[in-house]
Amino acid sequence: MIQLFHVTKYYDGCLALSDISLRIEKGECVLLTGPSGAGKTTLLKLIFGAEHPDEGQILVQNRNIARLGGSDVPYHRRTMGYVLQDFKLLPQRTVSENVALPLIIRGLSSFESRRKVLEALRAVGMDHKLSTLASVLSAGEQQRVCIARAIVNSPIILLADEPTGNLDPQLTTEIAALFKAINTRGTTVMMATHNRQVVEQLNGRILRLDCGHLVSDQGAYT
């Protein structure tokens, strides 16, 4: 599903990731942990195609992301969902409009789009707020809508960068449970998190990064 071969990344000459090699299989739940600046977000961005590695190769579904042309990146991104800490919702749009955006980009019909939006919102327990503006939602609700938007296209990989970073422990438990449920349905989940509670709750493979180095890989496939 995802393979990294000796991946190294620098930002303005500073090392962000150093010689990372790993393999993630379909349906795995991978938790990226480590202190701030360890390289968790960089690793996710590389897989997402938002950054290019300076050295090494990245294969996602046998496609070399390192060699992806600028015009191919959007199509690569459509195969995955991305959830961020700061939600990234359009505040003046309704919940359903926000969730429908990836489907509009793909050019789905209105009927199909409505069906998928409802399905995704049901999965995150937000189907009762279809017409509510995103700006009036609570933090937990906003993150649920973000997750719905990330899964509405039925992605094979779901990436999440500190998705519970802005949430209280109660909401963190709820959001972690959602990720667990999505992973149980067969989606590969890769999440960067500091949160011990999330790590314990998701009970996945733990990759620990420190200063750009992969220092431990617990539960890795051999």
Partner: protein, 299 residues
Amino acid sequence: MKRLWYFIREAYTSLRTHQTSTLIGILTTAFTLTSFGIFLLLYHNVHNLLGQVQHTIQIIVYPKNDIESDKLRDLQQGLKADPAVDSLTFISKQDALTEFKEQFPEEVYLLEGLGESPFPASLILTMAAKTPTTDMIGNLVKRLQHHPDIDRVRYNRDWIERLTLIIAYMEFGALVVGSILALASVTIIAITVQLAFHTRQQEIEILRLIGATSLFISIPYLIEGAILGAAGGGMALGFLRGGFELFTHKTQGLSVFGGFSSALEFFPLPLSLILIAGGILLGCLGTLTTIYGSLRFRL
């Protein structure tokens, strides 16, 4: 269909959200196109008037004195068939004599004792309204001068050349002024769209996050630019029409214009549509300038 609706709605939302910059963009485009339109209107009318004046340009061809009637007929037919020639009048030696007598009755005594008419027969050619250029008339004259049945050719070369030069200057002026104004308009629209672009950075970032292509992100802005341009073009057309009506109304009957104002005409429909299309083109160019810089090299 859903995508199209999305693009139109996005463009509309952006225009509504940034009302002030939208208004500035429309007014600037309108001002630019009005300035250009005034020049174009002037050029259009001068070109029309010159066409009419050129219609009165005549070339006088004197066939050889001893030309046979068959050859004279062939010569007339050949000249009538020339695309640069609008009409042809044959003045026989006798007609020329009659004309002289009519015009100078007191000088008739000069011709006494000369027998037949001393005046040569001639062919008077009038130029087609839109065709004459120095080259065309020059070529025609050259051909006629080398014709074996023609004695000589007379025409006012300076006058024709001056007219052609005026048209050429106006065309060049229209190109220069038009280019400068178009550049100004593109810049203003680019700034307007750039403003919309900056205020919607978060939205663009989200669209990138969920796999939108640069084209998908750009289309609402292109529509926005096209609407700005079309509105500016329409407004300019309105200004020009109003100004034109006012000008012709105020100058009607004024001796200083010598009836010139009644001969003026506004842009025909195709030219009016071209002006609006020009506005749309400027709007799209302005947007593309912004998009090219903002989206092309970003992942």
